[in-house]
């Protein structure tokens, strides 16, 4: 499969409203620069993120998926991210077991004050995924455009 010209990684990040989304806003206020490839979906808490969303994102064409929330112990809802942690530790392993590169799905705790960490994480993840190239695994589009014969 040849890499499309001008291909840009498409990265979706599910971020909790109270920490990471706030941290991203702070990065904006501080005019920190990071790649355009990252798109945030705002959710109230990282525990709102159903692991099925991640599957859907890969299926529909995302090259990288992230789930970000408050650091354990700092959850606005007290315990939400402890569930997040369990859910995604398992989901990440299951994805990798099914052949997804570890970098393509990542979870991170980024607090509302960690604008620099937000910038650095997003820059790093984008670079990693750029390195990996477009994702074909689990993707509907790839299947529809020729399927197994196209391998």
């Amino acid at each position: 499969m040849s890499v499309e010209k001008n291909w840009e990684p498409k990265i979706i990040a599910f971020t909790c409203n109270w920490c990471t989304y706030t941290g991203a806003d702070l990065a904006g206020l501080n005019r920190m620069k990071y790649p355009e490839n990252v798109h945030l979906v705002r959710v109230p808490c990282s525990s709102r993120v159903n692991p099925q969303f991640i599957l859907r994102a890969f299926q529909k064409g995302c090259d990288g998926v992230m789930v970000c929330g408050c650091h354990p112990g700092d959850c606005h809802y007290a315990t939400g991210n402890y569930f997040t942690r369990r859910r995604f530790m398992l989901m990440k392993r299951l994805l990798e077991y099914n052949g997804i590169d570890p970098q393509r799905f990542q979870a991170r705790w980024i607090s509302g004050s960690e604008a620099a960490k937000f910038r650095d994480t997003m820059t790093q993840v984008t670079a990693q995924i750029r390195e990996l190239g477009p994702n074909s695994k689990f993707q509907e589009k790839w299947y529809q455009e020729g399927g197994p014969e196209n391998e």
């Binding site: 979706i12 409203n17 206020l29 920190m32 798109h39 159903n50 969303f53 939400g80 569930f83």
Partner: protein, 660 residues
Amino acid sequence: MSRTGVIICHCGTNIASMVDVEKVAEEIGKIPGVVYSVTNKYTCSEPGQQMIKDAIEEHSLDRIVIGACTPRMHETTFRKMLKGTKINPYMLEIANLREQCAWVHTDKEKATEKAISLVRMSVAKVGSNKPLFTSFIPIHKKALVIGGGIAGIQAALDIADAGHEVTLVEREPSIGGKMVMLDKTFPTLDCSACISTPKMVDVSAHPNITLKTSCEVEAVTGYVGNFEVTIRQKARYVNHDICTGCGLCETKCPSKISDEFNQGIGERKAIYKLFPQAVPAKPVIDAQNCRKLNGSAKCGVCQIVCPLQCIDFEDKDQLITETYGAIVVATGYELIDWTKLYGEYGSGRYADVISGLQFERLVNASGPTEGHILRPSDQKEPKDVVIVKCVGSRDEKKGKSYCSRACCMYGAKHAHQILEKIPGSNVYIFYMDVRTPGKGYEEFYNRTREDGATYIRGRVAKIYKEGDKLICTGEDTLIGKPVTVKADMVILETAMVPARGVEEIVSKLGISMDGDHWVQEAHPKLRPVETQTAGIFLAGTCQGPKDIPDTVAQASAAAVKVCGVFSKEQMETSPMISRVNEEKCCGCEFCVKCCPYSAIAMKEIDGREGNRKIKRMVATVNSGLCQGCGACTAACRTGAIDLLGYTNDQILKEVDALCL
């Protein structure tokens, strides 16, 4: 088909300088369902808002997307604006084009492309938005305070003074708690009873306070504004409506039991008042030790001597259920049982190794020795006294890892009292550190040292008896040499631990505890008197070790929080909460386990199985408790529980829109 209106804000030049807003508006205008797509210089301004209002009328819009600054900035502004239109305030989505696009990118072309994606995601999401409506829950303006120590007393008085009804529940026969056991309070050396008993009397006399002693909370259901609380009134065997508290019964009672108020030093009767200034000042019968009630003898002397026939041996526990709008938990602390943990200090075999609280009773004028410091073993005045701090505190191996905060100061106070009351006495204080964070505390510590207390930095490794002396050996870590002190009495300043039974009360209330079983506050810095459950507040040491000033301050803070709840007739609840689709719910209770607020309960509904009517269980969300975190939604395999405002459908639409 929905009719979406899109407004892309220039934000002056904030967005427009990095994003080609006209192009964004043009591209978004091509999406089916978007019937109106324009740019605006300052959307949040008055003219900007008016423009949206006009567009809603003119283009019959039924939902709005605004591409502007972060929704955390103006979401409420625009929702408020929509209140005046025919569109529901929740038919709005904001795409973050400033903080998360224009301000963080450098390539205008790419930033514009990203902006289009972001707005497209919002357009997709808003397509699935549904009108949401805030609901109101009634507030019962009556508070329940659990625990009648100084924290509970202060909270109850403050709430009552603000004009609200309060019920104060105490499981002991009298309020007063630990503070009333103390002799003097540091650093000012006020008499503890002199400053706390007037407050106790105020409680009993306050028209807004219902005092319930010998009572325990049996069950709690409901939510903020509407807690249904069942209280168990334990049998007292004395009719307090008639009893005048003359005390005749107490003098005649033949049973003598170790006195718990005096920490086991001294005795009390089976019919007793907890202490002379008890509130209410009326006795109760300790059924376990009463000869008549435990069946060991016929007795009944109290019944015979009582001039008013108050004694009722047939008295039974009673359950009372009432509705409260808010609850203050003030269950307090107790001291760690060092005898089980510290074999090297004799495990309680030596009568003259006592706890700090026992010393408080010894030195107290109304205590068993009438304020004379006498060794429990032989009633002699001790000359050499060793005080050991951090017994059970800061000791991960045997006790607790935390610092109990008050011991440094009351240790100094004990030293001061001994030196003052026993001329020629010597006091040796074994310490790890001296922590004096408080007004006048460091000064008090210095004064104690000037009084002649000897501070030795190190732990006591062993205490053993030699003749009538207690030999304390340890190491002075400052000089690195072993030290031995021959003492007549040893005072252990033991760690505070949560009061017994805190686990039960916590589970009844549906709040949480930390690893050491202190009740968990909602946020360690910003919400220290609240719990995760709306309407339940914390006061005093149930939340963690603290001294009296901090306890009283927190109690007043909790009272203000209660008054805050009571300041409205009804409470508005956010509509962005979880909702259960009962048709799909299979009743597996998975969501119940994930909810941090105990907001999900199971209820029985009518169902049909073949041609039979059946009852089945489904989850139901309490709108008063749900805070809208959505943890339950990801736990539900069926997708039967969904978070309004962030539904599965809405989020997946966003995902799909990004991937177009």
